[in-house]
């Protein structure tokens, strides 16, 4: 079944030229095309890497023009041989502003922050797919991705990111959760149908959410809910993405929690992969510092047993990276796959302790909902009542009552839990851990804002980039002089 052919999609697809959607191949035609491609699917690559203990690498990459996109993919593959490649979709397309995407594409393709696949059409998608050896994933941020999904499948693309929560709350203002959850249920059902045609689509869940100071249990709880919905709808391969927060023990604990959660909450037989996004918050601006963080992220992925790592570049703080920077980011991250680094380990005792708390918090959040007969309804209600929540929501559908902070070691905790249904033990631990940072009780709004800003700018501060009159323009020697002691930034502590 093609998602765009279901009746409920009618109203939406009115905004799209008919020619485009009617000419789409059927799922069985797409399945045959995919089989004929003779390249591995994303799910196969992920399983292969997981079996070999290699962290698969994948860049973000998307530019507006088709020829430019071809060049970008071909160069990335030639120079860095990532295990998987990406079509990052522009933000007009994500929000179904297809007209704006098309206009910009025709007037100034370089003004697009991604590849407008729907505007280009599935034939061009196939052209991209055939150009390269690595399987492609569509990375976007569409609350309603049904048309995009159909075009992707028609292009022979075997990995598709998103979810009804994770591609709504960070990515739009006014799309009701019930709507995005239903739209994604259609996508997931289509994956189920494709599986019957022999094509396993890797469905990656965007646990990264709003990316900035996302507490691990929030990220993982939402992924669990999306994964349960997806597998119930027929999805057979789930990648659970988690954003590097920057505290090694916490990040490793979160990654290592993913197989445990899968075991606990997902049907047997579903393939589940842990995915790490290299640091998703405010990036350092100096190349060396950014590269330190990139390597650190890649090591976290290795130590956490991730199947895949989504890479960043040293240009992250500035804008969409150029190809050379993207290649450099992939190459650097690949060092963490080095067979020479087996001696690099993490304190397993601390990881286990942290992991226990994460799993308990996730249980507090998801278990009451999983018992409900209608999980979509339960999720919508929970967000409305603040029993689920995310910080810094772009959407009105989440309250953003929870306020994250970093504790004295840099781990992300809850300063304010809002209405999250955490057991008292969890609340006490959070309070204790943040006690050292702001003192007891609720801090004043000024202290809170200053502290929060410091936590957001954590790595820039750690590298002393954001101190007044400190050499943001004097890399190398001088910066390292300042950053020799890797302590958390004193300013935002007490």
């Amino acid at each position: 079944m093609s998602v765009t052919s279901v009746p409920s999609a009618g109203a939406r697809s009115a905004t799209v030229p008919l020619a485009c959607s009617t000419s789409l191949p059927t799922p069985s035609q797409s399945a045959a095309y995919i089989a004929s491609l003779g390249k591995p699917t994303a799910a196969e690559i992920l399983q292969d890497c997981k079996d070999r203990g290699r962290v698969a690498l994948q860049p973000r990459c998307g530019v507006g023009g088709h020829e430019e996109m071809k060049r970008l993919l071909a160069t990335l593959e030639e120079e860095a041989r990532p295990d998987l490649l990406t079509l990052t979709i522009d933000s007009h397309t994500r929000l179904k502003r297809f007209g704006e995407a098309r206009r910009t594409l025709h007037l100034r393709p370089a003004d697009l922050n991604g590849y407008p696949l729907v505007a280009h059409g599935w034939q061009r998608g196939r052209e991209l797919n055939e150009l390269i050896d690595a399987p492609l994933e569509i990375r976007h941020g569409s609350p309603d991705a049904r048309l995009l999904f159909d075009v992707s499948v028609a292009s022979g693309i075997t990995s598709f990111e998103g979810g009804g929560i994770s591609y709504n709350l960070p990515y739009s203002k006014a799309v009701p959760l019930a709507e995005s959850l239903t739209a994604w249920q259609d996508v997931d059902r289509a994956c189920g149908e494709l599986a019957e045609h022999g094509v396993i689509v890797d469905r990656e869940l965007f646990g990264t959410l709003t990316a900035v100071l996302v507490p691990p249990s929030i990220s993982l709880a939402i992924s669990v809910l999306e994964a349960v919905l997806a597998t119930r709808a027929g999805v057979r391969c789930v990648s659970v993405a988690y954003p590097q927060g920057g505290h090694l023990v916490q990040d490793v604990a979160a990654l290592r929690s993913i197989p445990v959660l899968a075991e606990r909450y997902l049907p047997a037989g579903v393939k589940v992969h842990a995915v790490l996004h290299e640091f998703m918050g405010v990036f350092p601006r100096e190349r060396g510092n950014a590269e330190d963080l990139i390597l650190y992220g890649a090591l976290a992925a290795r130590l956490g047993g991730a199947s895949k790592l989504i890479t960043k570049t040293y240009q992250e703080a500035y804008g969409i990276p150029d190809t050379a920077a993207n290649v450099a980011g992939l190459r650097l991250a690949d060092r963490a796959n080095s067979p020479l680094l087996d001696f690099v380990t993490v304190d397993d005792g601390r990881v286990t302790e942290e992991q226990r708390w994460i799993l308990d918090e996730v249980a507090d959040l998801v278990e009451p909902l999983l018992q409900r007969p209608d999980l979509i309804e339960a999720v919508v209600e929970a967000f409305a009542e603040g029993r689920l929540d995310i910080p810094f929501s772009a959407s009105r559908s989440a309250r953003s009552d929870i306020i994250p902070r970093r504790d004295a070691t840099g781990a992300i905790r809850y300063r304010t839990v809002g209405a999250l249904p955490f057991a008292p033990a969890r609340l006490r631990r959070n309070e204790e851990l943040l006690h050292a940072v702001d003192g007891p009780g609720e801090p004043g709004i000024d202290t809170l804002m200053a502290g929060l800003t410091g936590d957001i700018d954590y790595f820039r501060r750690l590298f002393r980039e954001s101190e007044p009159h400190t050499g943001a323009h004097a890399p190398g020697r001088s910066r390292t002089a300042a950053a020799a002691t890797p302590t958390a930034p004193g300013e935002s502590r007490n």
Binding site: H92, E100, N113, I320, A394, M449
Partner: protein, 153 residues
């Protein structure tokens, strides 16, 4: 904390939001918080706000001192299409301030700013921290302008 000069009068109003295709929320949350902390009445339209929504808010809050628009995703040019028209038709009368990451790519040049000025933007800031000072200046200039209006009438 810096506060507004005339706390006794009605708090000054600003219309705040993020451009139409852009869902980056963090800076928007922080700017709203900090302007409120400084005593502003902030009409925060949040992320993904079209020019039409900004214009409607201006009509609803005619005393708004400025429309403050953030954009990080590089799409500000397409997203502000129609701003010029909204100003010319008198739907937006106060100054329009834009800040964030104003073009696609890691290599920036001045042309992005030129294009924005041509599209009806009045002020461009690099850092949200500069916002209070600019708003102060605009208020002074605005008062000056109003005085001039009075003198001329």
């Amino acid at each position: 904390m810096r506060t507004l000069p005339n706390q006794h009068s009605a708090p000054p109003t600003v219309v705040l939001g993020v451009a139409a295709s852009d869902s980056h929320a963090v800076a928007n949350h922080l700017i709203a918080h900090s302007l409120r902390g400084l005593g502003y009445h902030v009409i925060n339209l949040g992320t993904c706000t079209t020019v039409e929504e900004f214009a409607e808010a201006c009509e609803q809050y005619p005393h708004a001192e400025a429309v403050v628009i953030g954009s990080l995703n590089g799409h500000v040019h397409e997203d502000l299409r129609g701003l010029d028209q909204a100003k010319r038709s008198g739907r937006i009368t106060c100054p329009v301030v834009v800040g964030g990451n104003l073009s696609v790519g890691s290599h920036k040049d001045a042309s992005a700013h030129d294009r924005l000025y041509a599209a009806g933007v009045d002020h461009i800031l690099a850092d949200a921290a500069e916002l209070p000072r600019l708003l102060d200046r605009l208020r002074l200039e605005g008062r000056g302008a109003r005085l001039t209006d009075l003198a001329a009438s």
